[in-house]
Amino acid sequence: MGSTSAPKNDGLGRRDLIKRSAALGLISVPTMSFLSACASSGGDSGGNDAPKGEKTKDNPFGVAKGGKIDVVVFKGGYGDEYAKAWEASFNKKWGVTATHTGTQEITGKLQPRFNAGNPPDIVDNSGAQKIKIDVLYKNDQLLDLAEVLDAPSVDDPSKKVRDTLIPGTLDPGLQEGKVVALNYIYTVWGLWYSGKLFKEKGWTEPKTWDEFLAICKEATAQGIGGLAHQGKYPYYINVAIMDLIAKTGGLEAMKAIDNLDPRAFVGSDAAKQAVEAIYEVVEKGYLMPGTNGLEHTESQTRWNQYKAAFITCGSWLENEQIKQTPADFDMRFMPMPLLPGSKMPYEAIRAGSGEPFIIPSKAKNLAEAKEFMRMMLSKEWSTLFAKEANSLTILADGVDPSVKLRPGTQSTVEASKKAGPNTFRYLYTEWYSEMDTELQNASNELMAKRIQPAEWLKRAQAAVDKAAKDPASKKNRRD
């Protein structure tokens, strides 16, 4: 036993060499996994548009019996049972067998397939990991859906499919004037509360911001939070902020943002008023404690446990929370309360369509995909959806009257009837991903009290100005 130093004149010793190459190998392995995410495979191969069957009035795209279709569905708030029901029905009618994928990882599963020119035939491209529509569109990956929308409707062949839809619901799928995504689900956004809690406490739906603050104050005094939001995802609080801006300043204020106006935020009175109103909730301590850091389901579940009076969300909320909601909770939807001098009435809501279904332009079974989409817009499939997913579709009167809706969904039906033509819908979220992300970051800081409304406005304007330099901003405009 003794110690000797490593031989120095021999260059690298054997053990040294092995050790070092092992260490280098270790380093290259984790880096590689990131780098190879960048590496692509294969080239483009064109889609196959030749119909295999004969085109008739009932079969406008020429679907042949015994074909195949590859369906990928986002399995989120609406689950994917509805899609399975559709596929069964599709198989029954056309003998087409479907390959079904229900997943939350849309990007992870589909990005390589798009890139390799081997996409599925129809995709519900939604959720936190959706592939951004603007990105797909810029890469020529989306089929222009005009052909489906101009085909005869399944229920009434004398009408075009597009004429059977709720007006305005195709707008969010527009890119440079073409409908490339079918936002299938009719969604309303706003505030939600428990009818049971409100009855118990003797509160009524607040119509003005002051009434809203008064309820928040009373709730906070009783150990219930005022407003809850899904802190980890600032998307939700942005719904409240942006809707207040639109209702206060009218459609002009909303369009200024979508059209990247140099005075969209800084210099807009509506924006200033709205952000200050939201900040008042933060400053007075009316937020549900801890809500800024919670996941969406955590936050919503706390609200279901009567830990907050209000929560901001879209109409998928009821189905998403179905297991956590007490039987007598009596879920209710309400529009954003009004600030003084608002240009829109209280009934006005953000409404429109969500859950974009797309047909990739390079899909292998284009005829089947188009027919599938056409059938989605039939009364039969729309009712199937309402039953399985507790939500409405963009098909006007698309639900069979025999289906009994849950209270939350029922209250959204009533709210959208009352709103009538007073509905609005932002489009910047579909047009400018980076700007959306920056607005969300700013809102996160605002809710955590780390920045003030003035700073929020400045950051939001900076995001708008940056997006205005994007070449796509010249083509995306709304009037």
Partner: protein
């Protein structure tokens, strides 16, 4: 070697080398190629933009902030993990009292070794969920619940651990250290057991205390293992993707307001969410370079004479 043997050996070497070239080297080359284009990631159409992406990187505050965070991790994660693991390993192997010539672990050390190893068998994804519950931002979280019980916070003002710019990096670091210590404890233990007992006994006879026998005997004889640990932990610090992307807010994590951003999260967001894939590839190349530099520096800086027995 006899004639013909070279061909024989080369034949065997050819396939692995070819595989290595195709599956390891080629993606690197391809990535570098893409980093010189404006590729958007969803199709194979793009044009050549030269070094534009790299120039833009130098002005990207978010990415530079992420590099800085990775460097912070690189400084703290290995140091804290190795120190803790060394201390614990010494205690379970040679920290015991006078029994067996003074060279044994503290009481129950076999049990500790097993328990310390537990965190290592959990995958990072499970850790993220687990610590998500620990750091939960309302009083339902373990930390907040504990602080509330101790009367250190008020129920309506819980600490939003992962939503606090000043806490978030440390909160993440704690998870990695918690995860790693057990493994390095076992690694160091194994190395310690191969140190001949008689060295310790000799030291004891000469009147060395615990501290002296640790610094004069254990640590020098463990240097090889420490060096390996350092390189490994350096890689963990350069990565951090899984934890940051699942535990913090934002698309692919990095929140609040970029305060926990690491290079890989910025890269993924640009690659998949913003459709700036060419730019993301440039980030990938920078990550590779930085990681290589770190590993070379680590190996050089920790090189020293080795003892053999």
């Amino acid at each position: 070697m006899r004639k013909g043997q070279y061909t024989f050996v080369t034949g065997f070497l050819f396939i692995p080398v070819a595989l290595y070239l195709v599956f390891v080297i080629w993606p690197y080359v391809q990535t570098f190629g893409y980093s010189l284009t404006d590729w958007k990631g969803q199709s194979q159409t793009f044009s050549f933009v030269g070094l534009d992406n790299y120039v833009a990187l130098l002005e990207d505050d978010v990415f530079l902030g992420a590099v800085w965070h990775n460097i912070l991790f690189l400084v703290f994660i290995p140091v804290i993990t190795i120190l803790l693991a060394l201390f614990l390993a010494f205690m379970v192997n040679a920290g015991g009292g006078g029994r067996a010539g003074g060279v044994s672990g503290v009481t129950g050390s076999k049990f500790y070794k097993v328990v310390y190893f537990f965190p290592q068998v959990l995958s990072l994804a499970i850790l993220a969920v687990l610590f998500g519950a620990v750091y939960r931002s309302d009083t339902g979280g373990m930390l907040n619940g504990l602080l509330l019980k101790l009367g250190l916070i008020e129920a309506d003002r819980p600490i939003e651990w992962l939503n606090e710019p000043d806490f978030v990096l440390w909160a993440l670091m704690a998870v990695v250290v918690w995860h790693g210590v057990g493994f390095y404890l076992v690694l160091f233990s194994a190395a310690m057991q191969s140190i001949p007992r008689d060295i310790y006994e000799a030291a004891l006879i000469d009147g060395a205390g615990r501290a002296q026998s640790f610094f004069r005997i254990t640590l020098p004889l463990l240097w090889d293992s420490v060096q390996t640990a350092w390189v490994y932990l350096g890689i963990v610090a350069m990565d951090m993707f899984v934890l940051v992307s699942t535990m913090t807010s934002g698309d692919y994590g990095g929140g609040p307001d970029h305060h926990s951003e690491v290079m890989s999260t910025v890269m993924m967001r640009n690659f998949l969410y913003f459709g700036r894939s060419g730019y993301a590839c440039a980030m990938g190349v920078v990550m590779l370079l930085l990681t290589l530099i770190v590993s070379v520096v680590t190996l050089r800086a920790t090189r020293r004479e080795r003892l053999e027995f």
